[in-house]
């Protein structure tokens, strides 16, 4: 195989624009899988990925295609496509020479289209614009073409039309990929450098590392070295996925594949890091490596205290495959033993929580997510705080800085008003707007990350009838007037319910939280006051009146079994309750903290 016939590309798109279906069709047409082997959306392995229509873990597939009498090797490198994983996306794009930019023929350009495009351009990739789903009855090809031309500067004749569903135009696309993707730069003789763009844990082979060999080669039995950590391992296997596993003797400059080297701990394998080999050692990393840092933290606690060990095992298993998940033990007065977990973003958090519930069957309570605050103390020290309960005493704080993001919110122009209102409510600072065309606009705001942790997505959806698409990038830290607000039940602070809020919004948030809690917490034997307080000052209060009736007024011979069943049913309902002090709290109470209105 000639290295000049290698084409490394990825497909990027906004969610639901048909990326996975298109990938499946490419696999089918190149004969990588026959019809019988096709499972829909083969690249999305996890159930949750399939259900949500998103790709979380990356995959690379090697495909063969004969074109104009020559055989080409195509490496399709899949990307997660979600903002939470933008660093991983950027590294997998760095392994490519081109990106297929997929735009839905009915929807047009959306926020993630732009975000992903910018990432691809940052990596100097050739962009192949594609209008997908042209078979849709409401496809508006001329309009979407105009957007691609006017907004993104493509030429009319560059744009490929296709349908992943029917297969129409997909061959044209494959040929366009071959024609337009530059062959990778070949440096067979240079010291070996391979870019890590993904890894996963395999019970038999240890960590399997997805790489693109940029310079030199990696062979079986080579001693490899990770430049970020200086750890060394001996290569056991190298190979590619076709998408079936195919073993090779070596991977050479320009090729994409995987290596396994009996690596036990995924944490040493960092996406973006460079691998070299000791027989042909390089000493400088490839550009663009950043250690990944969690953006959002949340406490995860088992509802049943005896499930602590199971939760620990579940998190450890998930972590085997996910270096970006951070876990450390946490103890809460209210919730007992659990873990403080760091996530790349909200979707990442959601997915992990869901997998714990679903794959491991553990009922958990997740506490209100927190961002990382930079706290400047009066003694001149700077500390990072990832939990309201780690916030130092108010007297010792000089100032608090919080992370901000810059938004891409794409909406039809008639929703500009509601979007601006929403962003102002969320303490947004207006940056600017860009018109996509006369009907659509990209609104840029600076927003505190902590505000989108709450119900921003839901609000965005409801205030734009679902027409808005949203994406963001981190823009840095800014000082804010923040305070810790505690929630008291029956006069006692429930540590797991504390939140950090902006002082000007504290009263309103406090009101909302106590009102929501009043709705959610069932009546108890005694009256339960709910208070929100800052320091010792109570800023909002509600009272749950005592339960008046829960009795089997009548119970004679014929009733005994029936009444027992009734009690058992009530008991079942209580299982999801956590007793804090004397108060029984349903697990939803912890989520209600997230809601900023009733």
């Amino acid at each position: 195989m000639e290295q000049k016939n290698i084409r490394n590309f990825s497909i990027i798109a906004h969610i639901d624009h048909g990326k996975s279906t298109l990938a499946d069709r490419i696999l089918e047409i190149t004969g990588a899988l026959d019809k019988r082997e096709m499972k829909d959306q083969i690249l999305d392995n996890m159930d949750i990925e399939r259900e949500r229509g998103i790709t979380i873990k990356l995959n690379a597939v090697e495909l063969k295609y004969r074109y104009k009498g020559e055989e080409y090797i195509l490496h399709l490198i899949d990307t997660p496509g979600h903002v939470d994983f933008s660093y991983e996306v950027s590294r997998s794009l760095a392994a490519c020479e081109s990106a297929v930019l997929v735009v839905d023929a009915a929807q047009g350009i959306e926020a993630q289209t732009l975000a992903n495009l910018y990432l691809a351009l940052d990596n100097d990739l050739t962009i192949i614009p594609v209008i997908n789903k042209i078979d849709l009855p409401n496809a508006d090809i001329p309009k979407v073409k105009r957007e691609l031309i006017d907004v993104l500067g493509f030429k009319d004749d560059e744009i490929v039309l296709c349908s992943g569903k029917t297969g129409e135009g997909v061959t044209d696309l494959i040929e366009a990929i071959i024609e337009r993707t530059p062959a990778p730069k070949i440096n067979n003789e240079a010291p070996t450098r391979a870019l890590i763009f993904d890894s996963y844990y395999d019970a038999y082979r240890g960590v399997v590392v997805s790489v693109k060999v940029v310079d030199g080669s990696i062979k079986v039995k080579d001693r490899i070295k990770f430049l970020a950590t200086n750890e060394e391992f001996e290569v056991v296997e190298v190979g590619v996925n076709t998408p079936k596993i195919a073993l090779r003797d070596e991977l050479v400059s320009g090729e994409v594949g995987w290596i396994s080297a009996a690596i036990k701990d995924i944490e040493g394998v960092k996406v973006g890091d460079t691998i070299t080999v000791t027989r042909n050692e390089a000493f400088t990393q490839l550009d663009g490596y950043k250690p990944m840092k969690p953006m959002v933290y949340s406490g995860l606690f088992p509802i049943e205290p005896n499930k602590y060990e199971s939760l620990k095992e579940a998190l450890e298993k998930l972590k085997l495959n996910d270096a970006s998940l951070s876990i450390e033990p946490e103890t809460s007065d209210a919730l007992g033993f659990g873990f403080r977990c760091g996530f790349l973003g909200l979707l990442h958090m959601d997915v992990i929580e869901e997998r714990i519930r679903r794959e491991f069957g553990i009922d958990i309570i997740a506490t209100s997510p927190s961002v990382i605050y930079h706290v400047n103390l009066t003694n001149g020290d700077k500390i990072e705080v990832d939990s309201p309960n780690k916030m130092p005493d108010r007297a010792s704080i000089k100032s608090i800085e919080e992370p901000y993001i810059r938004t891409n919110i794409l909406v039809p122009t008639n929703f500009i008003g509601p979007i601006m209102t929403l962003c102002q409510d969320k303490r947004g600072i207006f940056d600017n707007t860009e018109y996509i065309d006369q009907t659509r606009v990209n609104i840029h705001y600076f927003l505190p990350l902590s505000e989108i942790v709450y119900d921003f997505f839901d609000k965005l959806k409801s205030s734009t009838k679902g027409y808005a698409s949203f994406d963001y990038e981190l823009s840095g830290y800014k000082e804010s007037n923040l305070v810790k607000m505690d929630i008291l039940l029956n006069g006692e602070v429930v540590d797991a319910l504390s939140v950090i809020v902006h002082k000007d919004y504290a009263y309103q948030r406090g009101r909302t939280i106590v009102e929501n809690l009043k709705e959610i917490i069932p009546k108890q034997l005694f009256q339960v006051p709910i208070q929100a307080s800052i320091g010792s000052k109570v800023i909002a209060r509600e009272t749950i009146s005592a339960l008046k009736k829960n009795v089997l007024a009548k119970c004679y011979g014929g009733d005994i079994s029936r009444k027992r069943k009734l009690l058992e049913k009530q008991k079942e309902g209580k299982k999801r309750m956590k007793t804090i002090g004397k108060v029984e709290l349903p697990s939803e109470a912890f989520l209600s903290i997230l809601k900023t209105d009733k």
Binding site: Q524, L525, L547, K548, K549, N550, V551, L552, A553, K554, C555, Y556, G557, G558, I560, S561, K563, R564, L567, Q570, K571, K574, K582
Partner: protein
Amino acid sequence: MACVYIHIPFCRKICSYCDFTKVLYNKDLVMPYLDKLSSEIEDSYEKEEVKTLYIGGGTPSCLSIEELGRLKQIVKSFSLAKDYEFTFECNIEDIDGDLLYELKDMGVNRLSIGIESFDKCKLEFMNRNASFPDIKGKIELVRSYGFNNINLDLMYGIPGEKISNLKKDLNLLLKLNPEHISTYSLIIEEHTMCKIRNDENILPEEELKMYNHIVSKLEKKGYIHYEISNFAKPGYESKHNLTYWNNEEYYGFGLGATGYIKGFRYSNTKSIDEYLLGNFKDEENLVSKTEMMENEVMLGLRKMEGIDLQKFFDKYEVNLQDVFPVKPLVRNKELVYKNGHIFINPKYIYVMNEILLKLI
């Protein structure tokens, strides 16, 4: 020693709230039913001495004199203990000299009469009928036949009912000077007229007020509040019903009846056709020791005096507090420990399920 319940499912009229096993009175069915009842009893009754006998329904008092005669024959098959209690449920309208004569002859020594209310609106809601002067006359008649242990039922919490309606009902009831009073708030059960027409309970706050009023009023009048819904003059507590609350065994005979014998809880078929074919039992389960102890708690705590810890130990050879998390609840004053008994703090009796849920 045995306790026996016998179910007579026939009614002349169906009350809107009733979810007991019942069928409209049909002359052609009664005698065959009584024949089957007799054979059911013969099949399983082992001639133990009977301490309490309770004939309920349905409406046992709606039977004709001839039918009552057949029932009397059946009852004769039981060997009654010396100090037996024999209760017979009566509908107030059915009461007359002939009926009372038959009951007396049968050996009945306690009557349970469903009065429920004297209030026209409440009665209309319940699909019942009666007036205070009539009732008063009937009760006098009952007394003249020498019945001196009478229970009267009273219902409250009927939609639209105010505390003033209840007070009036209760005052009239007290004028009849019954030895025993059972009071129930309306429960809207599945498959009742109330459920079908979508009746709704009054607010729990209101209901609790009514309950508290009943308790304080009756206690003032010298009644002992001995179970959540039951009050008696000293010495007139229902021995039969205490069997249930003490989690003791009892026979249940007749359509839809349930029983608890030799460690098994069973329920009879609710289908009159099946019953007449002689297919009596519908379900039968051996009660595990855990379940038995849980039942002991669930039922025992219904009594205001609660559970006798020594008796519990004698019966199960284990301390109640070692099996159930009693201590934190005593600490919270949800349960009270006194004179070797554990009972629900009377303050929480109307929310006692919450406490049970923490215990079992």
